[in-house]
Symmetry: C2
Subunit: 206 residues, 2 copies
């Protein structure tokens, strides 16, 4: 994760993201970010009005990066069940730190950030929420390919989202680095059940 850029703003956001993700947001002061980035305080405050704006920028960066990476992981996959499987496989790569872009695994930055800024009306919390909603939308798209649009796809999507979030927590807090693969297995079972209950015969696609 060596940072290489001439754009000071980008450099600051990259550095802050690294530190915030590794140590927690409240635990990292502005001065620490500045020292690590080798940037002067004046420069920071010419780009951001406050620490809170810097935090918001790190969340946006992480959001772009995580979604970009996930979409990249799906480029080779057909939509529907294979893509869903690939999402969980991608999580496994993340947990086991095979994705250099995402850095050492320390849980989900959005979950962590919203633990520190958990008021529902806080802009930081809302950005975290938007990220999770966007990922749910991605999941829903593939569920609809499997089951067709409708209530059943929504239900399957919700279940898969639960498994995904649960896997992130288990990988971090329980230290279970195989959580993504367990979630993938469970996901396949749920897709199978949903297929059986809906249009029969789809289970074979798994």
């Amino acid at each position: 994760m060596a940072i290489q850029t001439t754009d000071k703003r980008t450099l600051l956001v990259e550095t802050a993201l690294q530190l915030f993700y590794q140590q927690g947001i409240h635990a990292v002061g502005i001065n620490e970010v500045l020292k690590a980035a080798g940037v002067a305080k004046k420069t920071l405050y010419s780009h951001f009005a406050s620490k809170e704006e810097l935090i918001a920028a790190t969340i946006e960066l992480r959001d772009r990066r995580l979604r970009g990476w996930l979409e990249f992981c799906l480029t080779e996959q057909p939509d529907g069940a294979p893509a869903i499987k690939a999402i969980f496989t991608a999580l496994d790569d993340w947990f086991n730190e095979r994705v250099e872009m995402l850095g050492p695994f320390r849980g989900c930055f959005f979950i962590n950030a919203s633990a520190e800024y958990g008021e529902a009306d806080c802009p930081i919390f809302q950005r975290c929420q938007q990220h999770k909603l966007a990922l749910r939308q991605l999941m829903l798209k593939h569920c609809e390919v499997v089951l067709g649009p409708g209530e059943e796809a929504e239900q399957l999507c919700d279940s898969l989202v639960l498994l995904k979030e649960g896997a992130i927590i288990s990988a971090h807090l329980l230290g279970d680095k195989s959580a993504a693969l367990k979630a993938r297995d469970s996901a396949q079972k749920l897709i199978g059940v949903a297929g059986l209950m809906g249009v029969s015969g789809l289970m074979g696609r798994l």
Copy 2:
């Protein structure tokens, strides 16, 4: 959650837990805890060597309280599948703030705390981990009643834990207060599949 006690130590821990849970640990200073509790600083430092010890005590209190509540919810239930169902029903009560003892829902205190104290060698992180392991043990007990001891019960248990953790995150971050019921449905499907794959005929017990 009106606190009523003459024991200063208990009063401090109760107050600190409330504030830490609602606002985050780093976001609440010692002085704020003291003011809310109406206790002098000297008293605090006669019971705890540092803020960190107070934090540890709040985690222990929350652990005792949450596990006690969960076990109480299971007293009327037979072991196995009904107990598992009851666990998710209890989560639903929690998310929708029908459990006064647990206070307004703001996610999982242990997940939140480990977001702020996420180093694997940090004692606070380890206490959070122990809590999650204890709950997994409870879940495993009931999975073993359903499937008998062995690899399959472990697998089912892992899946159910994923659903449980995912439900907590979805309820908090996505604001989906019905996450526990969705998780309960998914859990029943997974128990059904596991039953089918293992000793057949157990699915009827659901």
